[in-house]
């Protein structure tokens, strides 16, 4: 007999016991742990998803901030450029004004220097001439003076009759000189009786003839002034051309 009924019964009991044991030690714990692990993983995934969402939101925020920052940077750059340009223009203007001031000051200084130089030259020239003046030079002066009087004698003669003639001299006249002058004047203005000679040191190296409100004169000062004018004119002309 292949079937032992006691064994069959025993195996049924054994099998039921085994079901209980495996349910107790295998299926329940494993299923519980699996469910728990699934839940943990789902939670972890949810958390990860939330973290991703947060990160994405933060990334968007950062993107916005970055754009705003870039805009602000552009504005700052623009402002800086403008300010630098303004400052540069201002400096340029200041520098221009400063340069023109310097040029003007230099010009004024040079002008003053030239003027003083010319004055000095003229003054020294005049002094030299006066110091070196002698009889011969005085005669030459008289000659030139008389030529000028001769040129304007018609004009002078109208007043000379009633007012008389005054000869003022800054140079010392010899008697011969006075005589020659008197002769000439008598010759040119025949009706005139009063011819007066006066010493006038304020005239410097020169001599003049006064008839009422008219006069004819020769002065070294006049020549020197002309000379000074000419030199100054030439000097300044050159200076302006140079600058």
């Amino acid at each position: 007999m292949l079937i032992n009924w006691f064994t069959v019964l025993a195996q049924i009991v054994n099998f039921l016991i085994l079901i209980y044991l495996l349910k107790r030690f295998l299926f329940k714990p494993i299923l519980r742990v699996m469910a728990e692990r699934e839940k943990n993983m789902a939670d972890a995934l949810n958390r990860a998803e939330q973290a991703e969402q947060t990160a994405k939101a933060r990334a968007r925020e950062l993107e916005k901030e970055k754009a705003a920052f870039a805009k602000a940077r552009d504005q700052v750059a623009q402002w800086r450029e403008g300010t630098v340009k303004e400052a540069r223009d201002e400096v340029e203007a200041l520098r221009g004004a400063w340069m023109s001031n310097i040029t003007r000051d230099r010009q004024a200084f040079l002008d003053g220097l030239k003027q003083r130089m010319v004055e000095q030259v003229v003054r020294i020239g005049g002094k030299v001439i006066r110091d070196l003046a002698d009889q011969g030079l005085n005669r030459q002066v008289l000659r030139v003076f008389l030529e000028k009087v001769a040129d304007g004698k018609d004009e002078l003669s109208r007043n000379a009759m009633k007012r008389g003639i005054v000869v003022q001299s800054g140079i010392p006249l010899e008697d011969d000189d006075v005589r020659i002058v008197r002769e000439r004047l008598s010759q040119w203005f025949p009706g005139v009786t009063r011819i007066q000679f006066e010493s006038a040191p304020e005239l410097g190296f020169g001599i003049q003839l006064v008839v009422g409100d008219r006069k004819t004169a020769w002065h070294l000062t006049d020549y020197l002034r002309d000379l000074e004018k000419e030199i100054m004119g030439n000097l300044f002309k050159n200076t302006w051309v140079k600058s």
Partner: protein, 224 residues
């Protein structure tokens, strides 16, 4: 030559006896229970788990998935019942390669006991799920004339279930023994390897068929 391990009696007291079938069943039971207890006493719920826990999870999850495919709305106690059935048969069959081990499934008493369990489980789960009347009405489908055939089918499939498993396992160890006599080298090993495969397949077939019978018993058909 012994055909069944039932005949090898270790200890007897009156009607009570401990034969090889019962003894090796106890060993397998102890192995399964102790192994499960050792692993499941310190289960972890984190991401990193031990390898053996992984193996057990794969086994249990695989069985659960198979069961869900056959019976989507399975009752709560079905997995432990069918899972235990599969594990017990599989371990018995696989342990057959150990020299000296007599697989309890090679005894018709064991397979008959397991079949009777399935035979009893079908109405238990069926009545629990769809009710007594509905369950009995299943025997009258498709027509009341089919009642004797349905009852016969119920009995014959239980018989087939037990004889199929017994025949396969018994023949497998028998072939191994015969081959040892004819060609003691190499061939017995090949047959043993084949025995491993057929052992697992038989365990799968037994469990799947039991699942199919039980889930068929839980289906409520059209009113007769």
């Amino acid at each position: 030559m012994q055909l069944s391990p039932d005949d090898y009696i270790w200890w007897r007291f009156g009607l009570f006896e401990v034969n090889s079938t019962i003894l090796y069943t106890w060993i397998v039971m102890a192995l399964l229970s102790a192994g499960s207890w050792l692993v499941t006493r310190r289960l972890r719920t984190g991401v990193h788990i031990s390898r053996i826990q992984h193996v057990l999870e794969v086994v249990v999850h695989g069985m659960d998935q198979q069961l869900r495919e056959i019976s989507p709305h399975q009752p709560k106690g079905l997995l432990p019942f069918l899972g235990t059935l599969f594990l017990f048969i599989a371990v018995c069959n696989l342990a057959a390669v150990i020299p000296g081990f007599e697989p309890p499934t090679g005894s018709l008493s064991t397979t008959a006991g397991l079949s009777i369990c399935v035979f009893a489980a079908v109405p238990i789960y069926g009545i629990g799920k769809i009710g007594f009347v509905q369950y009995l009405q299943n025997y009258l489908r498709p027509t009341p004339f089919m009642l004797p055939f349905n009852i016969m089918g119920e009995l014959s499939r239980t018989l087939a279930l037990s004889v199929r498993l017994f025949g396969n396992v018994m023949s497998s160890s028998m072939i191994g023994a015969i081959l040892l006599i004819i060609a003691p080298l190499i061939f017995p090993i090949l047959m043993q390897l084949l025995g491993l495969l057929t052992g697992l397949v038989q365990a799968y077939i037994f469990a799947i068929l039991a699942a199919v019978y039980i889930s068929a018993g839980m289906e409520a058909g059209e009113p007769v």
